[in-house]
Assembly symmetry: C2
Homo-oligomer: 480 residues x 2
Amino acid sequence: MPMTSASYAITMRLYVQPDDQHAVGLITTAIGDAGGTVTAVDWVSTKDRHVTLDLTVHARGSDHASLLRDEVDHLEGVEVHRVSDRTFLTHLRGKLRVESRVPLKTRDDLSMAYTPGVARVCLALVDKPQDARSLTIKGNTVAIVTDGTAVLGLGDIGPTASLPVMEGKAALFKEFADIDAWPVALDTTDVDEIVSIVKAMAPVYGGINLEDISAPRCFEIEERLRDELDIPVFHDDQHGTAIVVLAALTNALRLVGKDIADISVTMVGAGAAGVAIAKLLLAQGVVDLRVADRHGLIAPGSEQPDSGKRWLAASTNPNGVTGSLVDGLDGADVFIGVSGPDLFDAAELARMADDAIVFALANPQPEVDPLEARAHAAVVATGRSDYPNQINNVLAFPGVFRGALDARATAITEEMKVAAALAIASVVKEDELHPYHIIPSVFDSEVVPAVAAAIRDVVRRNETAAPAPSIAVDDGDDLR
Amino acid sequence: MPMTSASYAITMRLYVQPDDQHAVGLITTAIGDAGGTVTAVDWVSTKDRHVTLDLTVHARGSDHASLLRDEVDHLEGVEVHRVSDRTFLTHLRGKLRVESRVPLKTRDDLSMAYTPGVARVCLALVDKPQDARSLTIKGNTVAIVTDGTAVLGLGDIGPTASLPVMEGKAALFKEFADIDAWPVALDTTDVDEIVSIVKAMAPVYGGINLEDISAPRCFEIEERLRDELDIPVFHDDQHGTAIVVLAALTNALRLVGKDIADISVTMVGAGAAGVAIAKLLLAQGVVDLRVADRHGLIAPGSEQPDSGKRWLAASTNPNGVTGSLVDGLDGADVFIGVSGPDLFDAAELARMADDAIVFALANPQPEVDPLEARAHAAVVATGRSDYPNQINNVLAFPGVFRGALDARATAITEEMKVAAALAIASVVKEDELHPYHIIPSVFDSEVVPAVAAAIRDVVRRNETAAPAPSIAVDDGDDLR
């Protein structure tokens, strides 16, 4: 049974008879008996011969919320006047706003920020385009580009319905890394058109975060944009996930005392995330990696329908193991699931090697029951926030882009991704490592600075930064 | 000689000998003698055997600013340590930022604004796409779309160099109308590509403001987007200018007691603004309108190179007047210039009818000297802020889009433009009308509400709003 959650929080406005001194007790008892969680009771007013209360409750889902409402409404002397859904209230008017960074209250303000003064800044940019990183928003701005074809677990819901996710992502960029991110939700699924649109709009941005674009189209879109643009292009569903998986794996291996070069890894899921994880694991020294899709383990040299799976067939499974995913578990040190819900029974994990590591990342329902998995594995991680060891992209993308923007990176390389993963892993100190704590919390304030510093170091070491502006942004700190 | 301006404001950090009690007096005298304006003297510190002062000065231009610096540096006991250009300081880091409208501090916040709660909002939008106006940023968001081909008076400077103007425009949208506007500066000048890009990105926006796109391409881009999108598309250089010209003309005619149906109008400039002004004047009842381009007056039925000029040849100059622009001034009641600097001598205005009205809008240098024009005209207006009667688009576009977003308008019609112009004109009350005050100040807080209300009225009257969301944005005001 799922837990109650803030994502299903409702607030009921109640009219209660004032002479009933036990009403609040009866109400909270009724909610508790029906499996809800009362999180707030706010007394609104006493008038018109009734007391008005706002009762906020966490439910398990939409049907459960309706049930809780009915339970309260049936109580003697209590009337549910209206019900508000707090998640929908959170979304009213959208989740982003654009603010001016400059005052525009006086004629002098206008003369400097707009005409006629702005013309001098424009001419300076004609002369030195690299100054766009200090004299315009480009230096701190990331586009979140989607076509709405692979949104969360919802699939192809289109650009309009994807917008709440893109806005949320932009809000996370701001909250965690002080980056100005903007949603670009495109009403086209044509690869050529998406590539040409992103190229055309790139002057405004210091980086491109591709989001929720379905495989295999996402591979070609990213590859072509990386070739043609001089700013970082990063498909978060691929590389964000891969970075955090490598971070978690690094610490899990430290805990069980195994070397990454020696382990046998079985993964299920050959989409965007699976391919990127495979590439990063090989880059970091994994040799024995086999990947299953819905047809079973991908055999070396087998015919495959798209570029991602062709790469897997060419580059993984050196021992040529065939059969089902479950067959692939035999003797494996690590299982990684980036696929769908409830693929096999936890008892099958007994096939794995001692001190097995299980990352079951399908959301909201993991590939294998994570509670039962603990009986057979030394370390278990999921994508969910209500189990220990949440593998969450929020640990990676804010710091990756913060570092890339700071360093004027022109691309996100495999070396940077490995550096980011090791930086995330390093936030969990040796004496903090525990089977329930291989990865830092998304709210750990050390994560983003550590990741950003790691990215900056790689750019500096390889001297791959874009040209420095002639006017530095900190020229203004001294004299304003 | 141009006036000193905040757009050429510099701040000099000065080291001054502390034993010189007259230093500040000498400095300000030297600036004044050299034609500069001291606007601030800030005492920064006293240490290291000198006093540090920040001296802020308005100059007439870049060369003049250098001269002022040298004058101060040559003073005995005064050293200019560094010079900062305040306009460039204003632009450091760009002029916009994106902020989250929702808290993201706790796990509950994340659960509602991002996963898993956001999935419910996405599914609601699959079901009812019209709710995007209340549950996403679409309801209050405008794209400022340019290709950088006709930026201010600077011409084709490209998307990167145009960005400070687009950011400034977005800042004005926020300051004057609380609209979240975002720059879309495109690295393409291909009409088909611009049209397809704007169509593809439209799901995020409630309106499209086209900006600084050169004629005649701007006509086709706007027309095709208006046909294909269900949100307002408004080329501000055309229609913003036309609205404010009609507003100013309405009040100028009131002042001189002439009827718009009876006047003779001569205009110079057959680009984006000229064509739009002509259309709006005809819509509002002007009959005798003739338009000149660089080749002279456009004759009825003459061969013309683009759609805008072809329309002018087909629709204006009913009396078939031919010759130069100056020939066209004979007997005209109104002159409107939306072209280039210094086209003719003010004495030529004597050819016009009594109580002539002269709008010389070329910026920064008007078509005719506005001070000398006053000798021959009852009313003179320019595009500049340092003369009376500034005809500035800031009077129109914030209120037009505010009203259009509020009313869920699907287009900006000629009827709306006329209503907006009359609303701007109405802000100057009968007893405030004066040859130096035919148009409200851009800082007049009555303008935007009046324009927005006029736009809303037109939408309501014609019942042309987009479908109403099932969840209104003010559903949240009551219970949160």
